[in-house]
C-alpha cells in the first residue's frame, strides 16, 4: 500500500514539475529535462506498483532488477546489439528506404508504372511480416541477411507511400513556375518536387526507423544464430529470465529512440522551412 501511495505521489509531483517547466521559456535543457522527468516518474510508478502489488518477477520485474541485470550483462547486450541492430536493422533500413525512394521516383515518373505498380505494390507490401519472416529465413538463411530482408519488406511500404505523396505535394503555382522555365523533368524533380516532398519523406523515414528495429527482432523469432536481441528475448522468456528480456527491451527502446531522434534532427535541418517546424 505504501508503495502504491508512493507511486501516485511521484506521478503528481513529476507532472507538476513538468507543467511548470513547460510553461517557462523553452531552452535546450528543459527540452531534454521534461521527457526525462516524465520517464523517471513512469519508472518510479512501475517500481512502486510492482513492489506494492507484489507482482511476481517472472511476470514483470521491477526496474531496479532490470537495471542490475543490464549492468551485469553489458557484454551479451553489446553482442546482441551488433548482431541485430548494426547488421540486421541498419543494413535493411538503408536498403529498404533507399529502394523505396528510388521506386517512388520511378513510379512517379512513369504514369504507366504508377497506375500498374502502386495498386500491386500496395498489395505486395501488405503481406504481413509474421508470414514473410519464416519464408525469408528459409530463403536467406539464419544469419543477419534474412533479418535485413525482413526489414526491407517492412519499411518499403510506408516509405513508398510517403514519398509518392510527397512528390505530388508541390502547389499548382510552384509547378507552373517550373513550366514557364521549360524546366525538364529532372530539373523540376531536383529543384521543386524533391524539396517539397521532404516533409513527407521524413515522415516515412521516421516511421520506418521504428519498424526497422521491430522487424529485425521479430525475424529472429523464426530462426537465428545464438545471438541477437530477438534470440535472447525469446530464449529468456522460455527460461523465465524476464529481467534479461527487459534489459534487451531497454536496449531496443534506447537504440530506437536515438535512431528516431537522429532522423528527426536531420529533418529539422532539412525541412526548417515547413510550417510544422516553425510552430
Amino acid at each position: 500500500m505504501m508503495w502504491i501511495v508512493f507511486a501516485l505521489a511521484v506521478w503528481a509531483v513529476g507532472w507538476r514539475v513538468n507543467a511548470r517547466l513547460a510553461a517557462g521559456p523553452g531552452t535546450r535543457i528543459t527540452g531534454l529535462a521534461i521527457p526525462v522527468i516524465f520517464g523517471m516518474t513512469l519508472i518510479a510508478i512501475w517500481e512502486g506498483m510492482v513492489r506494492g502489488l507484489e507482482i511476481s518477477p517472472v511476470l514483470l520485474p521491477a526496474p531496479s532488477m532490470i537495471a542490475l541485470r543490464f549492468a551485469a550483462s553489458t557484454d551479451i547486450l553489446w553482442e546482441d546489439f551488433v548482431q541485430t541492430v548494426i547488421k540486421g536493422a541498419l543494413s535493411g533500413y538503408i536498403l529498404g528506404c533507399g529502394s523505396a525512394f528510388a521506386v517512388a521516383i520511378l513510379v512517379d515518373r512513369f504514369d504507366f508504372l504508377r497506375r500498374g505498380l502502386l495498386p500491386v505494390g500496395n498489395f505486395v507490401a501488405a503481406l504481413p511480416v509474421i508470414g514473410m519472416a519464416p519464408i525469408l529465413v528459409m530463403w536467406f538463411g539464419f544469419d543477419w541477411q534474412s533479418k535485413a530482408a525482413v526489414v526491407v519488406v517492412m519499411v518499403f511500404f510506408p516509405m513508398l507511400v510517403n514519398t509518392v505523396q510527397g512528390l505530388q505535394s508541390s502547389s499548382a503555382m510552384q509547378r507552373d513556375l517550373m513550366r514557364t522555365y521549360a524546366a525538364g523533368y529532372w530539373t523540376t524533380l531536383l529543384k521543386l518536387r524533391l524539396p517539397a516532398a521532404m516533409p513527407f519523406v521524413f515522415n516515412g523515414l521516421k516511421i520506418a526507423s521504428t519498424l526497422a528495429l521491430i522487424g529485425a527482432i521479430v525475424a529472429e523469432f523464426f530462426g537465428s544464430p545464438i545471438r541477437g536481441m530477438g534470440f535472447r528475448i525469446s530464449t529468456s522468456v522460455g527460461q523465465l529470465a524476464l529481467d534479461l528480456v527487459w534489459a534487451e527491451i531497454v536496449v531496443a527502446a534506447i537504440v530506437g529512440s536515438a535512431f528516431y531522434g537522429g532522423v528527426a534532427l536531420i529533418e529539422r535541418a532539412v525541412t526548417f522551412w515547413h510550417p510544422s517546424q516553425r510552430h
Binding site: D176, T180, Y181
Partner: protein
C-alpha cells in the same frame, strides 16, 4: 524596331467546368501583339486577364481558338524559354533564400556561376532588395516578396515578359520607381511585355497598347493604341494626351462594369 507579330490570339475561348456549372473565363478573344510592344490588360476582377496571360504562357489550354507565339505554338515557345512570368501571388519557394529563389531560373537555364551572382545582385538591387539575399521568404513583408518574384522573372533574358499585377502590393514611390525601371529595361532590351494592372495611370504610363476587358464571359471590349511617345518621363502623366487616354480607358472600364 520590326513589326513582326509576336503573340497572336485568334478567337480564343476558355471555359472552366466547376461543380456548379461552366465559367466562361474567355470568349472569342482575338488580339495581336507585335514585337517590342508594351501591352497592358485592364478590367474588373474576374474578367479573365490572368487566364489570358496563362494561355499565352501555355499554362492553360484554350477550349477553342488558337494562339501562336513567335509564329509557333505557345507550347513550343515555352520550351524555347521565350517567357519570363511574374505571378499574381509571389510564389517563392520556402526552402530557398531570396537570393536562392532569384537564382533558381538561372540555375535551370545553365548560366555560369559568376554571371549568375552578378545577375542576382543586379536584379535584387533593381527592386531594392539588396541586403535581403540571405533571408527566407517568410521573413519578408508581402511587398518585398512580390518584388523578389519580379526580380526572379527579370534575372534571365526572356524576350517576352508576362506580368500579372506585379506592382499590386507596392507603395506609390516604389511603384513609380519600378515603373521607370521597367520602361528603361523595355527600351534598352526591346522586350515584348504583357502586363496586367488595375491602375489606370500605370497602364497609360507604361503601355503602347491598352486592352480593356470585361467579364462574364471574359472578352476584350476596347483596344487603345497609345499616342504617347516611347520616351516617357514621369511627368508625362500631367499632359493632356495622357489624361485623354486615361479618360478613354476609364470609360471603357466603367462600361464593362455597368454591363455587368
Amino acid at each position: 524596331m520590326t513589326n513582326a507579330t509576336v503573340i497572336s490570339a485568334n478567337r480564343l475561348s476558355l471555359t472552366f467546368e466547376t461543380n456548379d456549372g461552366p465559367v466562361h473565363a474567355l470568349k472569342d478573344v482575338s488580339l495581336d501583339i507585335d514585337k517590342g510592344e508594351f501591352v497592358s490588360f485592364i478590367g474588373p476582377s474576374g474578367c479573365g486577364k490572368t487566364t489570358f496571360l496563362r494561355c499565352m504562357a501555355d499554362l492553360e489550354h484554350p477550349t477553342s481558338g488558337e494562339i501562336t507565339v513567335n509564329g509557333v505554338s505557345a507550347e513550343e515557345a515555352r520550351r524555347m524559354r521565350a517567357y519570363g512570368y511574374v505571378f499574381q501571388a509571389a510564389g517563392l519557394y520556402p526552402w530557398r533564400t531570396i537570393g536562392g529563389n532569384v537564382r533558381l531560373p538561372l540555375e535551370i537555364m545553365g548560366y555560369e556561376k559568376p554571371d549568375m551572382d552578378a545577375r542576382v545582385d543586379r536584379v535584387l538591387d533593381l527592386v531594392e532588395l539588396s541586403g535581403f539575399e540571405r533571408k527566407y521568404p517568410w521573413q519578408l513583408s508581402g511587398g518585398m516578396q512580390q518584388r523578389a518574384s519580379i526580380a526572379r522573372a527579370l534575372a534571365f533574358d526572356a524576350d517576352i515578359l508576362l506580368m500579372d499585377e506585379p506592382f499590386g502590393a507596392l507603395d506609390e514611390i516604389v511603384r513609380d520607381h519600378l515603373n521607370e525601371q521597367l520602361l528603361n529595361l523595355w527600351a534598352r532590351t526591346e522586350k515584348t511585355i504583357a502586363f496586367v494592372t488595375h491602375s489606370i495611370p500605370e497602364a497609360v504610363y507604361l503601355s503602347t497598347k491598352i486592352v480593356v476587358m470585361s467579364p462574364r464571359p471574359g472578352r476584350i471590349t476596347d483596344v487603345i493604341e497609345s499616342p504617347l511617345p516611347r520616351d516617357r518621363p514621369l511627368d508625362i502623366r500631367d499632359t493632356p494626351e495622357f489624361l485623354e487616354v486615361a479618360h478613354r480607358v476609364r470609360e471603357g472600364l466603367r462600361a464593362g462594369h455597368i454591363d455587368d
